[in-house]
């Protein structure tokens, strides 16, 4: 493309996405990287150079034939795998119910984790129960792992009288201290650098407590991404830094977040051991997170992980991806569907069946439906009741200062 002067030399580049509406998406069919390609370095002794191949390759455990193999196979028993599958299914069914609520005016807004369910579920399962979760808006699934009541989650999304954050933030901006799940904020990436401080505090107090955080490929263009990596590199706190490369930041393709195509290798430049993992492979995600947690426990500092995946759904309920990418692009993604892949693995080892899957789907569906009905008893978006207007003025400061109190009295509620 040239600029405003015909025939002039114009040497800068404005990247575009590889496929646009009407194109046939082609990601090469299946991954060329295979389970077993990459060794599992000793997490305690390794340095960033030892992870060069892991940052440039792709760590997989689940093969295209649904078997689990290689050094990174975490050897989870069937019970744990079924738990992981159940949690992913629950997240997906929950998301589907919420988006239906949004479409019928019951929620103002919603964001699904569709296609990325394995990330928050597997990674949280690999952590200790008291490790800090510092999520972006695409990891609410961590709450399912730690057993948050769905009614409470839905009450938040509605913003009704039982919303634990009192209707102050948009849906999906959960906060759940009991589950060590830190309040989500909308400005993207701020949690990434903050998580380093959370981890430094745990280390300062002498607690064996790691902090995990995520941001997206698009957000990796923010300063906070650099702050997080650099402060983690310098201070070496027990933190697990993930960039979820799901190819899309609303309509902005990941090739506007980097001039290259690899996000994991960026960590090597910060001298942080860095891994690149198939984000649709439950077992590989679990395994790399366990590896990072071992490093944290041993006082070896940060681990940086590129979670390579595809945002199968819209960015949010306000987004229409058919405007900027082929509608079936996610079906061409070599990583496939993370839920199906774990299900197929369980079936292949004889621990699961389509019948059991259908039964579980139905059971979860009815539980989600019941939770939704229960949550609506505390108020719905159309008619309330909402939290009292007085909550506008509380918790701005520890106690209400005079000028805020005067304004509350002016409102008269």
């Amino acid at each position: 493309m040239s600029g405003n002067k015909e025939g002039a030399l114009d040497t800068y580049t404005v990247p575009t996405a590889p496929f646009r509406p009407g194109d046939e998406a082609d990601f090469g069919g299946s991954w060329k990287e295979q389970p077993g390609d990459l060794n599992r370095p000793d997490p305690i002794d390794c340095n960033s150079n030892d992870t060069y191949d892991h940052a440039h390759g792709l760590i997989r455990v689940l093969g295209d034939d649904n078997s689990a193999s290689g050094d990174w196979n975490p050897d989870l028993d069937a019970e744990e795998l079924i738990k992981g599958l159940e949690l992913m299914m629950r997240l997906r069914i929950f998301d589907d119910r919420m988006i239906k609520m949004q479409r019928t005016g019951k929620l103002s807004f919603y964001m699904r984790s569709f296609g990325e369910e394995a990330i928050a579920i597997a990674q949280t399962m690999a952590l200790d129960d008291t490790d800090w979760i510092f999520p972006s808006y695409r990891q609410p699934g961590a709450q399912f792992v730690r057993g948050r009541d769905m009614v409470s989650m839905i009450c938040h999304c509605i913003g009704n009288t039982e919303d634990n954050i009192r209707g102050r933030q948009m849906p999906v901006h959960y906060s759940w201290k009991e589950g060590y799940f830190i309040s989500i904020s909308s400005p993207v990436g701020t949690q990434f650098s903050q998580a380093v401080g959370v981890a430094m505090a745990s280390a300062y107090k002498g607690e064996d407590q790691a902090t995990i955080t995520w941001l997206g490929d698009g957000t990796s263009a923010q300063g906070d991404f650099h702050y997080g990596l650099n402060f983690a590199s310098v201070f070496k706190p027990p933190v697990i830094l993930n960039v979820v490369n799901n190819q899309w930041a609303i309509s902005t393709h990941r090739n506007l977040a980097t001039g290259g195509s690899n996000f994991a290798a960026r960590g090597l430049a910060y001298d942080i051991p860095s891994l690149r993992v198939d984000g649709n492979d439950f077992l590989a995600l679990y395994s790399v997170t366990k590896w990072a947690r071992e490093r944290a426990r041993a006082g070896k500092g940060a681990t940086y992980i590129e979670v390579y995946t595809y945002r199968a759904g819209a960015h949010s309920s306000s987004d229409d991806p058919s405007r900027y990418r082929p509608g079936d692009e996610f079906k061409c993604w070599p990583g496939g569907d993370p839920v199906d892949r774990l299900k197929n693995h369980l079936i292949s080892i004889g621990a699961w069946s389509e019948e059991k899957n259908a039964e579980l789907t139905e059971k979860i569906d009815s539980e989600v439906m019941a939770a939704y009905k229960e949550a609506c008893k505390f108020g719905d978006l159309a008619s309330g009741p909402y939290p009292p207007a007085s909550t506008i003025f509380t918790e701005v400061y520890e106690t209400v200062p005079w000028h805020v109190q005067e304004q509350r009295e002016e409102l008269g509620k």
Partner: protein, 336 residues
């Protein structure tokens, strides 16, 4: 009581905070081994260890971010931003994150961060070592904004800021670190012999949200903060008018009762600040005072401020409010 300059008293407050609360940690650019470019953290790393007092990478956004994270995980971080002019890379972390955490999480989380930062002109620092950005923070609900002016209130207010469970932006008038400033660049007094240079050793806190009546008077209320407190004192002397001088000390939340009582008594008011006039905190004070004191006012409220321009280098004495401008304003309030 020990006679201290403001650097010594701030150092004493930090030293005491580190001693009394093991959750206090201090960090920022050059604050560790070197002790800070203004020497405020001198000796603290050696005394308290490098896990409690340490240098940070040169990234104000990152400094504010780790302060946020440490604060929500049980620590009481005191971060230094080396010059207030350099606080803006941290603005998102302060305004959207630190200020709003308690509210946005329904009170589940909070982060008692104190951010100390030297502000104001008078050191030939040009436009990027001289600004007074307090109104960039007074406009943000969730923050408390504190401005010290002398060794005594520097220690007392900093101690209270660190102990406060809300985040505090703590401005230090760098021109007054080593002595009061009366608006004459050729007259460079030290704090020696100044009443406000007497500072208690050990724990010393004075309450936030309270203004200090520096000089009592009945003809006009002069409100100032930071270095302008001393310039205003000189301005009042030059005017020959029996004005009351109030050091606001805490800008948010400001001391309504002290201000309102004074203006109702004097019927006249001059507000002095170094920051530019438009949308400066003087505008907020002026509006609030007229809402509360309109029927007691005998003359329009006058603001004497920095100009609505970038802060200059060699011509800074024509930028900073002078005793002469302040005296003129006080006289003008008497004409009505």
């Amino acid at each position: 009581m020990t006679e201290m300059n403001m650097i010594q008293s701030l150092n004493s407050a930090l030293d005491n905070a580190l001693e009394t609360d093991k959750n206090v940690v201090i960090f920022g650019e050059d604050v560790g081994y070197f002790g800070g470019v203004f020497r405020v953290t001198d000796g603290l790393q050696e005394k308290h260890g490098d896990h409690r007092v340490f240098d940070a990478p040169l990234a104000e956004g990152g400094i504010a971010a780790i302060a946020f994270g440490m604060g929500l995980n049980g620590l009481r971080p005191v971060a230094e931003i080396q010059f207030a002019d350099y606080i803006f890379p941290a603005y998102d972390q302060i305004v959207n994150e630190i200020a709003k955490l308690r509210h946005r999480s329904g009170g589940e989380f909070s982060t008692p961060v104190t951010i100390r930062t030297p502000a104001g002109g008078g050191i030939k620092g040009g436009h990027h070592h001289s600004q007074s950005p307090e109104s960039q923070f007074t406009h943000t609900p969730g923050l408390k904004v504190v401005y010290c002016s002398n060794p005594n209130n520097a220690k007392g207010l900093l101690t209270s800021s660190i102990e406060c469970n809300d985040p505090v932006i703590f401005f230090e008038p760098k021109r007054c670190y080593r002595g009061p400033f009366y608006g004459d660049p050729h007259n460079v007094p030290t704090w020696k012999g100044h009443a406000k240079a007497d500072v208690p050793e050990g724990h010393y806190a004075i309450p936030l949200e309270k203004a200090d009546i520096v000089m009592e008077g009945d003809a006009c209320t002069v409100i100032a903060w930071g270095a302008m407190v001393h310039v205003a004192e000189q301005g009042i002397r030059n005017s020959g008018i029996n004005a009351e001088l109030i050091d606001l000390q805490t800008l948010v939340p400001w001391d309504r009762d002290t201000i309102v009582n004074s203006v109702r008594k004097t019927g006249r008011c001059v507000i002095v600040h170094e920051a530019p006039k438009t949308s400066g905190f003087g505008a907020e004070m002026s509006a609030s005072i007229q809402e509360r004191c309109f029927w007691h006012l005998e003359a329009p409220i006058i603001r004497v401020t920095g100009w609505d321009t970038p802060f200059p280098h060699t011509t800074e004495w024509d930028y900073i409010p002078s005793p002469e401008r302040i005296a003129e304003a006080i006289k003008k309030t008497q004409e009505a």
